[in-house]
Symmetry: C2
Subunit: 194 residues, 2 copies
């Protein structure tokens, strides 16, 4: 899903400039931020002429929006579908994030763009809402007394850990996971464990 996607038009003939552009966007936006990445540099990395870039994305904002839209299926990938884990284990597995993981691109974009009306900001809200919904759903499976509340709480923990990892350069997900464990055990009537 991260690759190809064939673009909107039915048939394509050239050799995927669009994919190279989006791929370069991921790399550069992640490493340098959005506003510090110019279209010239982006096109150079993507090995695409500027003209071509602007034929695929009529504006940089449009490219940014598409760059974010792409993440939807990718992030938090298999965690919620791992049937080998109990719902409770799945909730905790959401906090096992490798140290190298950069700050959530949606947070990064929302802060950088600084405009709630920007389509990218809307995607960010959608994404955050979706994550909270999946956590809520899993919390319900786990038998939580108030799944909506637990889902929202866990989502807040993930974002807090993500931003502190970036700002402080120190591992914060273990801290968040510890909190999560407490909340989960508190929310499930008969703690089914240990």
């Amino acid at each position: 899903m991260t690759e190809l996607e064939k673009g909107p038009m039915g048939r394509r003939r050239g050799r995927g400039a669009r994919e190279r552009i989006l791929s370069a966007s991921q790399e550069l936006f992640r490493d340098q931020g959005i506003s510090r990445t110019g279209m010239d540099q982006l096109c150079a990395v993507a090995q695409v002429s500027k003209r071509t870039a602007y034929q695929h994305f009529s504006t940089k904002d449009e490219l940014v929006a598409e760059y974010l839209r792409r993440f939807d299926p990718d992030v938090m990938p298999g965690v919620f579908d791992r049937t080998d884990l109990t719902p409770r284990e799945r909730l905790l597995a959401a906090f096992e994030i490798p140290a190298s993981t950069p700050l959530c691109p949606y947070i990064s974009a929302a802060v950088e763009l600084h405009d709630p009306e920007h389509p990218a900001s809307q995607y960010a809200r959608d994404y955050k809402t979706a994550i909270a919904a999946r956590l809520t759903e899993t919390a319900r499976e786990a038998g939580a007394a108030n799944p909506e509340q637990l889902g929202e709480q866990l989502a807040l923990l993930i974002d807090g850990a993500s931003v502190r990892t970036r700002v402080l350069n120190s591992e914060s997900f273990p801290t968040a996971a510890a909190i999560a464990a407490v909340l989960i055990d508190n929310a499930i009537p008969a703690a089914p464990e240990s």
Copy 2:
């Protein structure tokens, strides 16, 4: 402390251009972000000539650093010193943040600047560390079993709520406060309340 400060040199004569510049920085950096605020606009708002601005701050980065340094005594102001509250109440009071409060400027700067070596990023780390330390200290007063852990946890909750308030446009501090209450009661051997 937010005002005047007389600058580094011994005596000053003119009428505070420096303060107007820093005041305009707070306003503009908060409302538009750092990178989206140009020096021209900043000088216009501060009603200061560009020449003067660059006599006080030899570089924009230097201004940004000073802008952040200024917050140290301001943010999280009286909460930790309110002797009318029990330590436990003080910990919870840290989550009573008005809805209008913008995203923590240190987080905003760290994300925007995207450079851990930037002096502003260093200030951000210092500030976050200081907040965690004060929370830890108060947690110790409250009799928490593991004050360091509780302090770090509460700091994470605050940042999570701050960033979600910004990204989602929805009040997240009540959610964080609810988590905090659970953590605090869990951490204090004999819950002294209700």
